[in-house]
Subunit: 511 residues, 2 copies
């Protein structure tokens, strides 16, 4: 058994069943070994940022890591932005980065670079270069253990070609993961006291939830605490994954992050509820309600309204629409239960790859990804993987032909009188992108919609026909022309926006 074969068995034994790949020459033994491990599914991406973003989306939904297979330092570099998002979201990912044979390093080959240094940016907790075929699988087990610890993280294992092809690979049993425990009784008592003290001494007390505390169990306990003690629950502004919808506690997102690190939030909050005497409290849940069916010329808020009108139960909603998705939270709050995935690290180009991974993790659930036009172009190659794997993903691209959020930022920095060169850096006109054609070129069924009626019809069709679809929503720039119409929506959305954006919007709305 060579190193690659043993590695694949070790990964599969530890429950890693999917590898998102963009291999090159150094990874050919790993590729050749794929057929020796029937439990491993290999999903090809045409660009490394798709592979890493798919691994991120997969882990968010599967609650366990996928592997990536990347080609040397340059391949890792191409995948860096989405690994950054995974790191910020505390998402487990196991990177396998091929390298030249160990004895080849001295020649400074064409693709030679310092892989470990690049990797440390996104996987500071675990970067290791395998030194021998015999020890490779222990390295892999250590990487898996690092990735799956609490909180999750990105772990990077560099795999030199000779370690991969060498004979004498020894598969390793899965690492023992510490069972996520609830917080200790002492910690819970202390937290309960702190909370009661805050309630007694202040007019309004807010409990901030983040990370795993945004899943159902933890949310229910937190809602009991909130209802019993009269505190308000708020969620971090960019949740890695948030369970929400009718029948679940409704928690608004704010521009602040706080979370319970290193313990099991659901059990801990349950204990905290008990300590506060809130175990039997019946908190209010989000009522079932949907917005009506939008009509007339399409706008970004109408797209969000249509999604709220039609979102099926159990959907996975991916929000990377930046300015155009402002209304999404409000419009879907009362929809049937669903999961929400957001841009955790701010490195745009996450949404389409996340959709690939989420759809592979949950093949029976529809994925709806709302993506800005500027954003979509960073990892547009994800559409091909959706077609290749026949994933049930509806990609909605808001085509407003501009980097809207940067126009907001340009004003925010005081450059209100921006010249033509500056403005041209933020518009995506000349030529306006045709995302439907781009999708068709990669084998994805696609339509363009410029009325709400067309959009609704396209979304209904896409949801009724499993497989990949793209709907290009032709909308006016959300913050430009129809400012007045958007105004009421904006005002409602302001509390859930990052404070910088909210301030900039306020300045635009009421100068």
């Amino acid at each position: 058994m060579n190193g690659a074969q043993a590695l694949l068995k070790t990964l599969a034994d530890a429950g890693i069943e999917v590898c998102f790949t963009n291999p090159g020459t150094s990874e050919m033994h790993f590729v050749a070994a794929l057929d020796s491990e029937p439990r491993m599914r290999a999903v090809l991406a045409l660009f490394e940022g798709v592979a890493t973003g798919a691994a991120d989306g997969y882990a968010r939904m599967a609650d366990k890591p996928a592997a990536t297979l990347l080609h040397l330092g340059c391949g890792l570099g191409n995948g860096l932005a989405n690994l950054h998002n995974a790191r910020k979201g505390k998402v487990p990912v196991v990177n396998i980065v091929g390298d030249h044979a160990t004895y080849h390093t001295q020649y400074d080959a064409q693709l030679q670079s310092d892989i470990e240094t690049v990797a440390r940016n996104v996987s500071p907790g675990f970067v290791r270069t395998a030194q021998s075929t015999a020890a490779l699988c222990q390295d892999a087990a250590d990487a898996i253990a690092a990735a799956r610890g609490l909180p999750g993280q990105v772990a990077t294992l560099v795999l030199p070609a000779d370690v991969s092809w060498g004979e004498g690979g020894q598969p390793c049993p899965p690492p023992t993961l510490p069972a996520p425990a609830a917080a200790s009784d002492e910690a819970v008592q202390a937290l309960a006291q702190t909370l009661m003290q805050a309630i007694r001494s202040s007019e309004k007390t807010i409990v901030l939830l983040g990370g795993q505390a945004l899943r159902e169990g933890a949310l229910r306990s937190a809602a009991r605490i909130a209802a019993h003690s009269g505190v308000q629950l708020l969620a971090e502004v960019f949740p890695t994954r948030m369970e929400r919808g009718a029948g679940l506690p409704a928690v608004e997102r704010v521009a602040y992050l706080a979370e319970l690190a290193g313990v099991q939030p659901a059990a801990s909050l349950d204990k905290l509820a008990a300590a506060l005497g809130a175990s039997a409290t019946q908190p209010p849940m989000a009522p079932a309600q949907r917005p009506g069916r939008p009509r007339g010329p399409l706008t970004a808020p109408k797209v969000c309204k249509a999604v709220g009108h039609l979102l099926p139960e159990n959907a996975i909603l991916i929000d990377e629409a930046i300015t155009s998705g402002l209304m999404l939270g409000v419009m879907t709050a009362g929809c049937p239960r669903h999961d929400l995935i957001t841009l955790t690290g701010g490195a745009i180009g996450q949404g389409l790859p996340n959709a690939v991974g989420a759809a592979i993790a949950c093949p029976d659930r529809p994925v709806i990804a709302l993506i800005g036009d500027g954003t979509a172009m960073y990892t547009i190659q994800a559409l091909w993987s959706m077609a290749r794997e026949n994933l049930h993903v509806v990609s909605v691209i808001f085509n407003n032909a501009s980097y809207s959020v940067l126009n907001v930022e340009l004003e925010r920095v005081g450059a209100e009188q921006a010249g033509p060169k500056a403005k041209s850096q933020l518009d995506l006109k000349g030529p306006v992108l045709n995302f439907a054609q781009l999708a068709q070129g990669m084998g994805v069924h696609a339509v363009r919609a410029s009325t709400a009626e067309d959009f609704c019809q396209a979304l209904e069709y896409a949801l009724a026909h499993p497989g990949p679809h793209l709907i290009e929503a032709l909308v006016p720039e959300s913050l430009a022309g129809p400012k007045r119409k958007v105004l009421p929506w904006l005002l409602r959305a302001l509390p859930s926006l990052p404070p910088q954006v909210a301030r900039a919007l306020k300045r635009k709305i009421a100068p």
Copy 2:
């Protein structure tokens, strides 16, 4: 004058006239300042790898650096692969990488990462974070000096937002660059003796040329030396830029790199020619000759033949066709004078961005970029920049629906009996990409050709109509089906291939 305005003036004063941008929030002051410097052209890219690859291509043709404008560590990461290619090609590039405000770093903001560490991989010779608005332009001058030294290199200046927006920017005069001198008389004499000794003691002496020694002046001197002394000239296998064609010395490429570092090769070789008494020698030059017009079903060699048949004088030829471009060198050797740009660092996704930069550097010269299908998808967003800037670039994509070079490599590693999962990792079928649609979706005129007649007609049309064009050449996998027909061409091309690929091909051809 704020920091950004002073920086732009400093760059322009030093002759940096183009900035390839993909800005984010932290770079808004730089963007806002663009209109204060009329000498600076800003070229927007939709993905950072396009911006860095365009800066690389620009510098290869303009013989001076462009700047890039990138957004934090993640933006730099997205641009890393093409900066690697620039580093390996010793190409000058000045990266401006925006960062959070200096006082913001302590908060570990959403996009925070260690930019300098990432940058050191591609610009080991110069990475600096600007610390104050007052000192910013001296930092920039130092970066420019580092980039433009001999040999050229990538220099990275990290620009925190507050340094950029701060008042009190002080433009800096252009750095004094040491004039590239010829090698010293002593060095030339020593080299002459070494050469004469080699000629006397061996049957065949080869002089390897690389880097700047592949430009006209150096080539002519080298050819005089070769003709006078009876040595053979060979060129590095992946030239950064090579001047070739009818009327210039014909130098074949081999799988070895050697170059004169730190001196001016043309002057040095001229001195060497004088030292050897070869100054008046009339070496043979490449004869003017073109292949005939190809006919019948299109194949990869026929595409190369068509390019050789039609290549206009003064064209810039970019070769990133990997397996499909094997015949390109042979087919264009006797074409009118042109420049050849190749994949210097092995990180695929260089060709289309290089074409953007080369076309901006040389607006009066047609650019023809031959790109493999797998390769094209890494930086396909470059097509949009070609349309936006209305560049005269003809992108030829060989669509054989596979990573052919990896199929060669898979066999090379001994995995001849690869299973279906392994093979599926190297094929790009299901769905087959439609590059014409992708190009049209980005505003580029595009056609598909499956016969040599159609291809020639499309190429003639594209060359006659300045502006961006894409021709998708539908070809069978070059090394699969029509092996017999390809055989004679392959045998002729073998000497100019990397030895690993040549060996693998030989094994395929004569197992």
